[in-house]
Assembly symmetry: C2
Homo-oligomer: 489 residues x 2
Amino acid sequence: MTAFDDLMAYQRETSALGQIAGRLGWDQETVMPRGAAPQRAEEMAAIESVLHARRSDPKVAEWLDQAEPGCEAGQAQVREIRRSYERTIKVPADLAKAIARVTSTAQGKWAQARADEDVTAFLPVLEEVVALKREEGAALAQGGNIYDAMVEDYEPYTTGSQIAAIFDEMRPRLVALRAAVLDRPAPQALERAFNETDQMRLSQKLATTFGYDLTRGRVDKAVHPFSSGSGSDVRITTRTNETDPFNCFYSTIHEVGHAAYEQGINPSFALTPLGCGVSMGVHESQSRIYENQLGRSRAFTGWLYGQMIDVFGDFGIADADTFYATVNRVHNGYIRTEADEVQYNLHIMLRFDLERALMAGDLQVRDLEAAWNDRFKADFGYAVDKPSNGCLQDVHWSVGLFGYFPTYSLGNVYAGCLYQALRDAVPDLEKQLAAGDTSCATGWLRENVQQHGGLYAPREIIRRASGVEPGPEPLLAYLERKFGALYGL
Amino acid sequence: MTAFDDLMAYQRETSALGQIAGRLGWDQETVMPRGAAPQRAEEMAAIESVLHARRSDPKVAEWLDQAEPGCEAGQAQVREIRRSYERTIKVPADLAKAIARVTSTAQGKWAQARADEDVTAFLPVLEEVVALKREEGAALAQGGNIYDAMVEDYEPYTTGSQIAAIFDEMRPRLVALRAAVLDRPAPQALERAFNETDQMRLSQKLATTFGYDLTRGRVDKAVHPFSSGSGSDVRITTRTNETDPFNCFYSTIHEVGHAAYEQGINPSFALTPLGCGVSMGVHESQSRIYENQLGRSRAFTGWLYGQMIDVFGDFGIADADTFYATVNRVHNGYIRTEADEVQYNLHIMLRFDLERALMAGDLQVRDLEAAWNDRFKADFGYAVDKPSNGCLQDVHWSVGLFGYFPTYSLGNVYAGCLYQALRDAVPDLEKQLAAGDTSCATGWLRENVQQHGGLYAPREIIRRASGVEPGPEPLLAYLERKFGALYGL
């Protein structure tokens, strides 16, 4: 046994324990009895403490010093284990515990404040979270940029300035596109009820249509759709809304994008740092391209229209062109998670600028609501009516997820690059999608993105797959083309 | 922080990790995608390895040496932590790993051999298991009796000789009762189909009727019914068989007995060694008294008869007395898990004597089948027709569970003692059960048995609750009285 072998054997056990922690999260959101919550918190703390101890064990440093990985994958393993080790030891254990303690309280206070529409009830605990996260960021950055150090947790090898440059290029064109689209007559909306059992049945069909392997996964209902797990146990959840079947269908397709990424990774990487998606941004690129560029295309919605007629009978939409416009309806709204392709990224940029200013100390928590509302008015043209539609709408900040929001839009940007390359690689893509066949598209994504897991850095994997330097132009061109045609601009 | 406080804080985390391992087991039997099995084996091995390391950590020995627990419960905690520590360090790590490896293979080989009716295909791996378990038993016994050391894992503070003395008293009376009962005409059997969804619905009602708290538990379907978890997350499973609704109902009531024990434990013991059932025998005493003495009583079956009429309409049984006889029908059969109250313990005694002889070296694995078949003929009066109805029917030995079988019958013996005391404590018990009200009965069991968790040794808890020295007389008298009346002996 070489030092590298020892390191990998140890890491394999750590990864297995990490999978267990993930499965507890799935259990909590799907099947856990509600009275079990306090005990579950202790169970999660216990396994997180085991994971922390393993990730920062001095043995890991010794093995890392002596490891001589032969191949490219071995070098990537060592790179990622070193990154995790150094990240873990930089943060003092007391600080990590304080963050865990405060954020677990803060989430409850956030939920109550949102229900009560009472921002001031949330601000004191948010101040604590922000102060602790800035302290953590300073420990991680070691003199460098605090926000960059946080982004690193979700989108490694990417900085806040890089993201800001991308977003600066996107914002004016998205604001202009949004204004132009909303100036035009709105397409027809759905106006009847859709049986929820039938929604779930069609949803299951959509999952397999997009290549989800149900022998290594399962679909359940949960309040918030998510995908969880790596390797051969990757589960998704979706939800149903009687009057909005698209919520169910596109949540499913979105989560299948995440799950297919995990299921598509080279099996020899299983239970290693390379055996899961490389970053939140690349993860989101898969969920978004499945959901939007493929799932909301004219070709695929044509097939879906037929499926819905089969299941629900005539549901008041006359033809496939109208259905395509209905699926892609752009509408005013306050809520990020309900936003359409045109407006979604504007919601993200708002959060990115505010959280970056909070971390830099340029914005105080007490001024957050005003800053949010000003920015919303500037980009969307109307005022926030209540905090639950404004700065209290998302859970992220209460649980300390600073640096996470921009990865949603990076995912859209990456999906734009990938889709451009995919269309060149599969010339009859639209014909296939129109027949409900996604196999060439998902096969291309598996081959060029998914199988590599954590082997390459996020931007490198997108560069390799798309053949271009990752940037927002393909996404913007796609949105302007698609919605320009849909709205006759 | 005293040494005792440190010890308990550490133990609390260990217990939380133990709960996680249990939850993985539940997941595996209920919701896990089938393709996830190999990865799950690695996950289980990883958490078991963490648990083993924690249970045998030298820090535990230091704390144990210095701990000065003040109260009775503290002393019991120290006693149980010491027992676990000493048990863990006595078995060499290599031996523990070899047992884990061999038994995981052996279970598959057993299942295949059972399907093929091929005992010889199973014997080589069973020989390995027996050899390794004898080695483990010798390490644990340190010169003492090997089988006693194994019983200790499931029924602490109890020896093979104590059990043998109890069983020797039971066997002749049970053989005689069995023969007399089967000499009489058989009661009417069920002869129609019962909708499985309705079975599950009534099953859920039975669970709450017996006091199962669904805010801290849930009921799912699984191939083999079981109860899993402690504290505030105690889940049960049951199964349905279209022509045999009693299988579903009494499996549910049985598992609710186990679950109610866990749910009834003093909450201040949660996530400590006292926070779960003290032994398999006491556990089984709860499941059996719920299932048999209460659930199969004339009074309760009268109520159940009405429930079944409500749900299924007329199902061909004319009145409650006939129904009571049908529920308690004694019938020939080879399979332990399908046996009635009269014959169940005979199946156990057969296994107890054989496994005790195997561990003592008095019986060789190659002679096991013949020994099984001889004994079966002697007690039941007819010959085993095929191995799946004989020595291949149970999974236990393949996974190394020697010393486990007798706890099933100890549970029946303990249930007999408890029921005698319960009838004295609740004079109008039958009236309550006839109204479908188990609250006084289950309340008495909670107060006198369940709440104590691991505080007292198994025989002590039964002695305290029943006021008698635990022995088989109350059970035998109950069986002779009940089945004597039912069969007009």
